[in-house]
Symmetry: C2
Subunit: 263 residues, 2 copies
């Protein structure tokens, strides 16, 4: 089944009805998808501040009020607790459960604050439109991601280094790839490193810290973008008493077109 | 005395020493200046959320930790409580004092959170570089500002409509003015209205709600940008028990060049 022509509301309804349980890549052509982080209100100030101070790694799209289950700006009518195909529950920083519905947690406690964070799917769609290859899509694997030595600006209990994703770009297309993504600051923006991985503490491209290795061909430059895994890694490192995230690749599909994130 | 060639650190030192008490327009050519809002921690979550939800009117540059008196990212070594030439103190939404130093308030209570918000000075400098006129600078008056019917997205105790500033732009230069400012989302970004003030509830350009009227010449289009007075108006409307702001025109001078705000 090809879901690229479905509207985001249709996709969210199918997910909510339990009729879709697959990674959301390729759903709803042209619409932005987002990362979800849900934290208790007691940690929300520190996390909001962390995102504000590190907008390239943690580009906030929307923050819901405590206890609120809808993203009013990016997806009116959505249900944060049911509209993602697969969620992960963490307690004290340990993954304790993977589930398709987190309604009970929002019912058990009224202090949960949901953060929607921009995702590289949006800029990859802009790269593909410009005939710039996206290797991990060609090779049907997860994007390779690496820990770096670039410190994030800390905020309260949250601190850590930036995680980056890597895409091999043909030499001649590197300037276009930089310019196109620089124009989309709400979904990570420009790369942080071009062609010199050791400058940011990456020594072995063949063994990413997260995701899968991809082929770097002759005539290509490895280009590194700030990655949405950064906020998740930073949150887990602080061992919060409770946290919900989406499962990797199972994203929240919004009603906002990628093109509007350029604005 | 012309302060355009001074460094931001030099200017802040002069202000801190009580040797400068004038509006900061024209200080430190090329460096960004910012609006200051200081609120008790109890209100800071709602205000941070309000800014996150209304980034065009309230483009946050930096938020300091509670009690912290320096903006580490935009001005390392700065003293928020002394480096602005003139501050305003509000109690329950009423202006109670204008002063050159607010150290005692930061000493009296440890819960004050300082917000630095982007300012239109930055994009005006980019307009002037492109030979686009900025009328209120030519006429040596304050920019005209108007209340609109555009609702901001509320957050907690904060709600209200957007305030906009108006600049008359020669017809042929309107597209360039839009494109240039759209490229600077951290300092208000693109206009919200071009040429049809009544569409956003403005009926009388000759009588702005804040600032001064400027001449609209034949062959010019009135262009309206989201204005940094919005967060101040919204904060005062909620009558916070305590609030510090800069006095209009007396801004915080940062170490970050305007050009870097495009990135």
């Amino acid at each position: 089944m090809n879901y690229s022509a479905f509207t985001p509301a249709e996709i969210r309804a199918l997910i909510r009805a339990g009729k879709l349980d697959a990674p959301t890549t390729g759903y709803c052509d042209g619409y932005a998808q987002g990362n979800l982080v849900v934290l208790p209100k007691a940690l929300a100030w520190d996390f909001l501040l962390f995102c504000q101070r590190n907008p390239k790694a943690c580009p906030l799209l929307e923050v819901a009020d405590a206890g609120e289950r809808s993203f009013f700006q990016f997806a009116p009518g959505s249900d944060i607790a049911q509209d993602i195909p697969r969620y992960r529950i963490y307690r004290n920083g340990e993954l304790t459960e993977e589930t398709t519905d987190v309604v009970r947690y929002f019912e058990e406690r009224s202090d949960l604050v949901s953060f929607l964070i921009g995702c590289s799917f949006s800029f990859e769609s802009a790269l593909l439109d410009a005939n710039i290859p996206v290797r991990q899509i060609e090779e049907c694997v997860n994007v390779p991601m690496y820990n770096t030595n670039i410190p994030c600006t800390p905020a309260g209990v949250f601190s850590g280094n930036m995680v980056v994703s890597m895409r091999p770009i043909p030499h001649a297309q590197v300037p276009a790839a930089v310019a196109i993504t620089a124009g989309m600051p709400r979904v990570h923006g420009a790369p942080v490193q071009i062609g010199t991985p050791e400058a940011i503490g990456i020594t072995d491209l063949a063994h990413p810290d997260y995701g899968d290795a991809v082929t770097l061909r002759p005539g290509e430059t490895p280009v590194f973008w700030p990655c949405g895994v950064t906020p998740q890694a930073v949150v887990m490192h602080s061992k919060p008493e409770f946290c919900i995230t989406h499962a990797p690749g199972y994203m929240f599909v919004t009603d906002v077109k990628n093109t509007l994130l350029k604005f």
